[in-house]
């Protein structure tokens, strides 16, 4: 950028040095107002917040249809939001209240007080066979496991065991869509989008409750 027209330091810093700094409380209030007005105007396409959990901070994102994304810290929340902007809509705002119900159910799940989720979900981030697999995953009950091969059969393609693995690894709504309940045919735990340690934590939690 050209500097010819930039106001010099001295030119900018005397008269307006007295301008009050924009305080965080004001920005917070204005942000809240923007969220409310955006929602009323139907312009809040994606709302998000983060919550703490025994498997680390989780990013939750919802569209008008329902919960569309749960992301582990290892997925890099900033990158996840950038991809949501690209894949769903860039009209994304931090709007914790919009995710209160989801946060509550997930909290209850981790406290061992909840065995199933009643949340509406939006699976639009998964397409084709992957989406079919996610629908089958939701049929695996709390505390139970299924093999990748069994899910492939249930999804209508017994040869697609690897594709089931990919669908689990790219599950946009882990925890709520229970890809952690899919294990290897030999009984070993297999991979997980949130890391094997998180998968073990979830399976242990469900076995204990």
């Amino acid at each position: 950028m050209m500097t010819r027209d930039e106001p010099g330091e001295s030119e900018r810093s005397d008269l307006f040095v007295g301008l009050p700094a924009i305080d965080e409380a004001t920005m917070h209030r204005l942000h809240g107002r923007l969220v409310r007005e955006a929602q009323t105007a139907g312009l809040l396409d994606v709302a998000y917040r983060t919550i703490d959990s025994p498997v680390g901070p989780l990013l939750l994102a919802a569209t008008a249809k329902g919960l569309a994304r749960v992301a582990y810290r290892c997925e890099d929340h900033e990158k996840v939001l950038e991809r949501l902007a690209r894949d769903l809509s860039p009209r994304i705002l931090h709007a914790p209240a919009r995710l209160d119900a989801a946060a509550k159910e997930i909290d209850e799940y981790f406290a061992g007080l909840r065995r199933g989720f009643d949340l509406p979900v939006d699976l639009s981030l998964a397409r084709g066979f992957r989406r079919l697999v996610l629908a089958r995953l939701r049929e695996i009950g709390y505390g139970q496991t299924a093999s990748y091969a069994a899910i492939a059969v249930a999804a209508g393609n017994s040869k697609a065991v690897r594709a089931v693995g990919t669908a689990c690894a790219t599950n946009p709504i882990p925890v709520v869509v229970p890809c952690h309940r899919v294990v290897r045919s030999d009984g070993s735990i297999g991979q997980y989008v949130g890391g094997v340690e998180a998968k073990r934590t979830l399976l242990t939690l469900e076995a204990a409750a």
Binding site: M1, D5, P7, D14, F16, V17, L43, L81, A85, S89
Partner: protein, 161 residues
Amino acid sequence: MSTTLPPFEEIVSTHGPTVLRVCRAVLGPMDAEDAWSETFLAALRAYPTLRPGSNVEAWLVTIAHRKAIDQARARARRPLPVDPLPERAAPSEADRSDGDLWAALQALPFKQRAAVAYHHVVGMPYADVAALIGGSQDAARRAAAGGIATLRKTYGDGGPR
């Protein structure tokens, strides 16, 4: 240059304070928050059509300028309220202590005030200021200089601090 738009939340956190500063300078602290809200709501509406890599700050200031014109016109039409409107947030302590500066700014003609705000508060080049407020680059420079000269007389050199 990125090929996709960042989440709008990033736009609000990066540029929100600057846009509020502009709105305060052009409209004063009382009307500034309404103008800020209208600006960001309009920006959110139009955001998906913004070309990735655009100058977002200039885009927002352009929207804010239009909102400021609307507000200034509305204000000219309505009688001065005896009391502040109840639903409006009370200005903070900091706002009150700078009442003299706001008053001095508000006493300037709209074009001078806008030129001062965009050039001296935001740091916008005169070519861009001219594109916003109309007229030539020299006229924008003169409007800002005239505004600053008046402020120095009415508000003082360097202000009260």
